[in-house]
């Protein structure tokens, strides 16, 4: 690395000696009609020597004798390269560059030119998401495309992002889009069974991605029928191009840290505050119930900042190398990647080795074939639970433990041994039963909970074109994903206490897909037709098994292969599913003016009820390029609009993603009783179970202004989802073992998307590109099951702060209301379900005649609980989007991406814990707790043991906050080595950059990060931040070299 830097410095110094002899050239730049083009850039290729044209389009430029080529560029015009030779005068006519509309878009079983597209598809270039400090490509998609919302659920590495296309479109199934890589619907989502997150999509090296096309409306998605309701994301990996081999090396290294952690009481504050709480509760006893400081080895009282023991500065690096090339008949792309990333939580690591080969070969005029082979190995590593993967209340959760554990105890005793007592951390001098849960240092030193993925994605195809109009293609692919889960808990203390435990679960997922399509294309005069017919089968098998062993025979046994007392089966599972499909597409355009597309797909799925296996899905769309009409030109609008296309689509697609393989069946499961086999009714099925259906309407227009210097897109959409599958809950007293899946609910998402891509400045040395997008979305659940007025949803299995009710958006916060703290008595005031104020004191002073719950007049009131909760605030963002700016000055490039969202609320459940009056450490906010009559404060009088007035016992409105934010998601400063230098160094290109991630945030949200999700990709319980580790902030430095 150092050698390389020295070499580059040498090259840079050489640069000063160039440009010895010079001469002058002149000329005029005009458009197709002969009109002069001002401000066009004229540049000597490979140098910084250049100028801009004047108002009359003329220019004059001094060029070095060695100059060979002029590069002429202007906004909206096709860039030209002109050989200089001995010429002195250059009169050049430029042509319109509508490359945006010439771009090819993947549409499923084929491609279409963007200008012919009548569906709604957003395209993100691979370069925009490459070389980012992420584990999977979709983590970098946030803000890049209108209507696409990405929420990375926590600071734990490789947790699958919440990926929403146009809102939340399901309640109980998945709302994540279908992911199609090189034509194959692949496994996505969480794969790990341990406390290390393992996103299946992390097996794709982002640097191997050429484009990402996100299909949003019925027209664009209907070809994927039953799986299209949440949108379809098409990933196209890089392929070789004709020409000599090109080599590209991309490397970056980065550092990241935790941010915005809540401020906690220190040991002195804690000891004093908790003792006061004990005194207030009347249970302070110097011998049996009091907190005390403990002197550490240095003779000073222990004052532990537990954050320091859990978080770290993570170092990551990532390296990709690819070689591509080919000739007329054979093209290849091969790559290897290695990524090693450290998270902000200690011992949370991600390591990936990936290899990809794409090969395409043309046998003769009629036959071509090709193959793809991708292998990847990902190690998802962690020591212990983070409490951020849906396990919000895990007592070992590293997001929570540093906030709970008393600061007046240390991880080590003064003799250097671990501080623990049984499973828990030892209390040291405190005379109380407990001062923390697990000792995180023991957990971080001894435990491990890992998931290692091995994945093979491969396909082969043959394409036969017997006559010009007909293309037959058959593609067979496999997606094999093997996950090796391994958990070890040390017997010393914590989760493994006593005895220790080791668990290994092997999980095998195998899928094959066979696709056959026949495409027919024909043109008669101005009429262009296309017809596609196809079939597809997809079969997926899964199998998992494992052992859980406890009570180690020797402390050195740390895996299941060692000696243990007890072996138990763990993680057993087996299943299969099958999807059989027939589909077709018809496209037509007249004179590139009127466009029409129709898609249809018929799917049969094994997961569904015997009476409802088959469904038919379809989408139709039309477009009208108005600029090609005569009246448009007559009206003079063509002077403003270089393009203007109106389009609309309508159709019906489905969703089954996330449905259990045997969800429609009623079954009896087996266990043991006294060693004898049991048979227990364990699942209530539904033979009529069918698809969730989405009826999607999309109306919009695309436009280009000033030769497409400004281009944009506006789309209005409405997505009516009905037949939503709900596990219809029955009263627990009915005793039905599971909620019966029924097609019953309905909801809609409607909204507007707007995107604008502009080049405000394009000068010789300076250009500014600005891309802005924003989407407004309104979600409303319109009906649930008859008799089901609401669906409660839990967080971490312990509390239910979320409710879904008809007439409101999905996942409303469901909390009990409060009315502050009574200044006279310091009691928490609740509002009960009748709207009455109820005063709460955790401990009723003996002989006071008072009550725990009483009305303002002192009479006894019924207990206030979650039964008094109200449907409170919306968790769905009303708007979200991104603002991407790129400034180029000479060889420097500055890119900033802001993302924003707003109109939503979050439940910061963590804050309930931060005010919990048990032994838990507290936010410094509790220091303003009520102490005497007349105190006006938001923190009630502290009673030790009080877990009611703060929201631990049941969720309260005081822990609900606005989730609006603007983030500087990325900022990248790059330097491209001038061609003159790269040529000397015998390389094609070289680029250095430094990038910041999440550097800056504007928000009123008091928690670490408003963009998290305790319940991961869940729909009904979104918008919850309960003990979640926030996202990291960091910087990376990198280099891209092309040979």
């Amino acid at each position: 690395m150092r050698k390389l830097v020295m070499l580059l410095l040498g090259i840079l110094m050489l640069g000063g000696q160039l440009l010895a002899q010079t001469r002058t050239v002149t000329g005029k730049i005009t458009d197709e009609n002969g009109n002069p083009i001002p401000n066009a850039t004229v540049l000597v290729k490979g140098t910084t020597a250049g100028t801009s044209t004047l108002e009359d389009g003329t220019f004059s430029l001094v060029i070095p004798a060695s100059a060979k080529t002029l590069v002429i560029s202007s906004v909206g015009m096709a860039t030209q390269e002109i050989s200089i030779g001995n010429r002195g005068l250059f009169n050049i006519s430029m042509t319109k560059d509508d490359k945006d509309l010439q771009e090819v878009v993947v549409v499923g079983y084929g491609t279409q030119r963007k200008r012919e597209l009548t569906g709604n598809v957003s395209t993100v270039k691979g370069a925009e998401i490459a070389n980012r400090p992420v584990q999977s490509f979709e983590q970098a998609l946030g803000g890049r495309a209108p209507g696409v919302q990405i929420t990375i659920p926590s600071g734990v590495l490789n947790s699958p992002p919440v990926f929403r296309v146009r809102g939340t479109n399901s309640l109980s199934l998945s709302s994540q889009p279908l992911i199609v890589i090189d034509g194959i619907a692949v496994y996505s989502g969480e794969t790990s069974s341990t406390a290390a997150a393992g996103n299946a999509l992390a097996s794709i090296n982002p640097n191997d991605i050429e484009t990402i096309d996100i299909a949003k409306d019925a027209a664009a998605t209907a070809i994927y029928g039953s799986r299209a309701a949440n949108g379809v994301v098409f990933i196209t990996t890089k392929k070789g191009k004709s020409g000599k081999a090109r080599v590209s090396l991309d490397s970056w290294a980065g550092w990241n840290k935790v941010q915005r952690l809540p401020e906690l009481l220190d040991a002195f504050q804690y000891t004093e505050y908790k003792n006061q709480s004990l005194a207030n509760a009347g249970t302070l006893n110097p011998v049996t119930n009091q907190f005390y400081l403990t002197d550490g080895p240095d003779g000073k009282p222990i004052n532990t900042n537990w954050y320091d023991y859990v978080y770290r500065t993570g170092f990551s690096h990532n390296n990709s190398l690819n070689v591509s090339g080919g000739n007329e008949s054979t093209k290849y792309y091969v790559s290897m990647g290695y990524s090693e990333q450290e998270g902000i939580i200690k011992r949370n690591d991600f390591k990936r080795i990936s290899a990809l080969a794409n090969l395409d070969h043309k046998v003769n005029k009629a036959i071509s074939l090709g193959a793809k082979m991708q292998y990847s190995n990902e190690k998802n590593l962690a020591a212990v639970s983070s409490g951020s993967l849906g396990d919000a209340f895990a007592t070992a959760g590293l997001g929570r433990v540093p906030m709970i554990t008393a600061p007046n105890i240390a991880p080590y005793n003064n003799d250097g041994t671990y501080n623990y007592s049984g499973a828990l951390i030892g209390v040291m001098n405190n005379k109380v039963g407990q001062a923390g849960f697990n000792n995180p240092v023991i957990q971080l030193d001894k435990n491990r909970t890992n998931a290692e993925n091995n994945r093979i994605l491969a396909n082969a195809y043959i394409q036969i074109k017997p006559i010009r109009q007909v293309t037959f293609r058959s593609q067979y692919s496999i997606d094999y994903l093997f996950v090796d889960n391994e958990i070890y808990y040390s017997p010393i203390s914590g989760e493994g206490f006593p005895g220790g435990s080791a668990t290994s679960i092997y999980n095998q997922n195998k899928r094959w897909t066979w696709t056959n399509t026949l495409q027919y294309d024909e043109t008669f005069g101005s009429h262009t037709f296309g017809l596609l017919a196809g079939t597809e089968q997809q079969k997926s098998n899964n199998k998992s098994y494992g052992l859980n062993r406890i009570n180690a025979s020797d402390p050195d046994f740390i895996n299941i292969q060692g000696g243990w007392a007890n072996p138990n089966a763990s993680g057993l599972g087996i299943g299969e599913n099958y999807l059989l499909s027939y589909f077709g597409r018809f496209t037509y355009n007249f004179d590139s003016k009127y466009y029409l597309t129709a898609n249809v797909r018929r799917d049969g799925a094994s997961q569904l009820g015997i009476n409802n296996k088959w469904g038919t899905f379809w989408g139709v769309s039309a477009g009208w390029e108005i600029t090609r009409e005569n009246f448009w030109e007559k009206a003079g609008l063509d002077n403003v609009f270089s393009s203007f296309k109106i389009r609309g689509s309508y159709g019906r697609v489905g969703n089954i993603d996330g449905l259990g393989q045997y969800a429609s069946l009623s079954t009896f499961g087996s266990g043991l009783y006294g060693g004898a086999g049991t048979l227990v009714f364990n699942q209530a099925g539904n033979p009529n179970l069918g698809w969730e259906s989405s009826t999607k309407l999309d109306l919009g227009f695309n436009f280009g202004i000033l030769n497409d210097r400004i281009n944009g897109e506006v789309a209005f959409y409405k997505n009516d989802v009905d037949d939503l599958i709900l596990g219809v809950p029955t009263p627990p007293s009915a005793g039905i073992p599971s909620n019966i899946p029924t097609n019953i609910g309905s909801m809609y998402n409607k909204g507007v998307e707007f995107s604008l891509n502009t080049t405000p400045i394009q000068k010789k040395d300076f250009t500014w590109n600005a891309n802005f997008n924003i989407a407004f979305n309104k979600n409303e659940v319109t009906s649930l099951a008859p008799g089901v007025n609401s669906i409660l949803a839990a967080t971490g299995g312990l509390e239910s702060p979320s409710i879904t009710v008809p007439g409101q958006p999905v996942g409303m916060l469901f909390v009990t209301q409060t009315a502050g703290v009574d200044p006279a008595t310091g009691r928490r005031i609740f509002i009960n379900k009748n709207g009455q104020q109820v005063f709460f004191q955790h401990v009723v002073p003996a002989g006071s005649g008072g009550f725990r719950f009483s009305y303002a007049d002192g009479t006894v009131a019924p207990t206030v609980s979650s039964a008094d909760a109200i449907v409170y605030k919306n968790t769905n963002p009303k708007y979200y989007g991104g603002f991407d700016n790129t400034f180029r000055y000479k060889n420097f490039e500055l890119n900033t991406l802001f993302t924003f969202q707003g109109g939503n609320y979050l439940y910061w459940g963590t804050y309930a814990g931060l005010r919990d009056q048990r032994f838990w450490n507290n936010s410094t906010d509790v220091l303003r707790a009520w102490t005497k009559a007349g105190d006006v404060t938001d923190m009630p009088k502290s009673y030790f043991g009080d877990n009611v007035s703060n929201g631990s016992s049941f969720p309260l409105d005081i822990n609900v906050f606005k989730g609006d934010f603007i983030k500087l998601r990325t900022m990248t400063l790059a330097y491209n080595l001038p061609t003159s230098l790269t040529e000397r160094a015998k390389i094609n290109s070289m680029r250095f950059y430094v990038a910041g991630n999440n550097l800056w945030i504007i928000t009123d949200y008091p928690g670490p990060d408003p963009e998290v999700s305790s319940n991961l990709t869940g729909n009904l319980n979104q918008g919850i931040d309960r003990n979640t580790v926030g996202n990291a902030r960091g910087i990376t430095v990198g280099i891209n070299v092309g040979f």
């Binding site: 407990q434 059989l580 799925a605 079954t667 043991l672 009263p731 039964a867």
Partner: protein, 484 residues
């Protein structure tokens, strides 16, 4: 041209080929049994009966949590972990409608078991009886109805006002007696306490008539219901209803007139000579019903008796509850030499109960009922119904006491009146069944206050907190169900 035709033919052929896997659309799971065939064989039918017991055992009902909830509603345990998952709110009398690990979990579990019984009874009627024959069918239905009775009884002790309050006229539980397997309208109001008790007794009477007298081995006699099991439970049920005459009638079926007290028919229940035996050998004739555990049938996280009551130094337990220094262990009449004191061990500065000493995964069997309870049920019923210091009641009390403490003999002269003897019997129950799940129900059936504990004020029988609230999920989904 020929080649083109060939290509087209190949293409058409391949398209055809791909349409032949339709049977894959109806896969059959290989790790569960379809509802359609669950009553097809005797093996499956018997498996379902085992499943009924497993259901009241698992997820913390009679396998541990029911006992713990009743223990910690009494005054003998100290909560040291302030964790609502392990009953902190139950201990300090503040569980709410939404308390997931107590109010909701027990309700869900008991009703799940009840519906399984209903599904089983319906399946037997439709098909199963024909498969196994009438005699076996009646045996098995007796076991099923016994499980249903146990489930309703457990809930009545926690979610409903005691029987004495209005003579059973207060709201009891939704009485579910039909099989629920699919969607439907399940709104159902709570029957009265008396109506639910009536159903419990009907089930137990059926069980008594139809259960076998014994099974083939002690493990089965202590883990599955036989005739005497049903009778023994009736003594508990009638005692809760303060129907002392009926307690006497039932108890006399399995308790001899004089010491040594034992059952003369069916399983020969009697006290074991050594109290300590009961917590190492779970299959003696004193154990009327226990929930079995083993390494491959572990109680599961935070359900295990040993995890709650044992300290880390004793058995690697979590020391959730120590023995309250002012509780029953402070009773001076309970002599230091009493064999039952051997189960109190000191660990650190605290005392813990050591009846469940096995280390993780804490596979001590969970006691549901022992014969000594029948003796004390009978003694109490005699005392309260006759309102005298009855000699047989004294003999029964002495049988229990002297088994563990031969140096103490209660005599009539020790008691000023019947009430004093009744109190002594209650005290004996606290000693004898410490950590076995009787304390809470013993308070409520008699209308005694729930005692004050450090940081917790006493709850009077008239207070709302005297019983648990109804599960908020039930209230939300069952429009006819009302809260307490």
């Amino acid at each position: 041209m020929k080649r083109r035709i060939l290509y087209m033919a190949v293409a058409a052929g391949v398209l055809q080929l791909t349409a032949c896997k339709k049977e894959d659309l109806e896969p059959v799971p290989t790790n569960v049994i379809s509802e359609l065939s669950a009553f097809d064989t005797e093996l499956r039918i018997r498996g379902q009966v085992n499943g009924l017991y497993a259901t009241i055992k698992n997820a913390g009902m009679y396998g541990g949590r029911y006992q713990i909830f009743n223990d910690i509603r009494g005054g003998d345990f100290q909560n040291d972990r302030t964790n609502v998952v392990t009953g902190f709110d139950v201990w300090n009398y503040t569980p709410s409608n939404s308390s997931g690990n107590s109010v909701q979990a027990l309700w869900n579990r008991a009703y799940y078991a009840i519906n399984l019984v209903n599904v089983f009874l319906e399946g037997m009627e439709n098909k199963g009886t024909a498969v196994v024959g009438d005699a076996i069918s009646k045996n098995l239905q007796g076991e099923a109805r016994f499980v249903r009775a146990l489930s309703y009884y457990a809930m009545l002790q926690l979610y409903a006002r005691p029987y004495w309050d209005g003579n059973g006229s207060k709201p009891g539980l939704p009485l579910r007696l039909t099989a629920n397997t699919g969607s439907g309208n399940y709104d159902l109001a709570r029957s009265t306490v008396a109506e639910v008790y009536a159903q419990i007794l009907e089930d137990l009477n059926y069980a008594e008539q139809n259960l076998p007298e014994a099974y083939s081995k002690p493990e089965l006699n202590t883990t599955r219901a036989h005739k005497n099991t049903a009778i023994a439970f009736k003594t508990r049920v009638y005692l809760s209803m303060q129907k002392y005459g009926e307690v006497i009638t039932e108890a006399n079926k399995i308790v001899s007139a004089d010491a040594p007290f034992k059952a003369s028919t069916g399983i020969a229940h009697q006290l074991q000579a050594n109290y300590a035996t009961l917590f190492s050998n779970y299959t003696t004739t004193e154990s009327i019903l226990s929930m079995p555990f083993s390494d491959v049938e572990a109680p599961g996280t935070q359900n295990q008796l040993g995890y709650y009551y044992g300290s880390s130094a004793m058995n690697g337990g979590n020391g959730e509850y120590s023995l309250l220094s002012t509780g029953i262990i402070a009773n001076t009449g309970w002599k230091e030499t009493d064999a039952r004191r051997a189960f109190i061990v000191t660990s650190g500065s605290k005392k813990y109960l050591n009846k469940y000493p096995r280390p993780t995964p804490f596979t001590d069997w969970a006691p549901v009922m022992r014969y000594s309870e029948v003796l004390l049920n009978l003694a109490e019923a005699i005392t309260r119904s006759t309102n005298t210091v009855d000699a047989r009641a004294l003999a029964l009390l002495n049988a229990v006491r002297q088994r563990s403490d031969a140096t103490t003999t209660f005599t009539a002269g020790d008691f000023a009146d019947a009430a004093a003897l009744a109190d002594a019997i209650l005290t004996e129950r606290r000693i004898e069944f410490l950590g076995e799940g009787l304390a809470g129900a013993d308070l409520t059936r008699l209308g005694l206050p729930l005692p004050a504990k450090p940081g917790v004020t006493a709850i009077q029988p008239t207070q709302q907190e005297y019983i648990w609230p109804i599960s908020s999920t039930e209230l939300l989904l069952n429009k006819l169900c009302e809260d307490n």
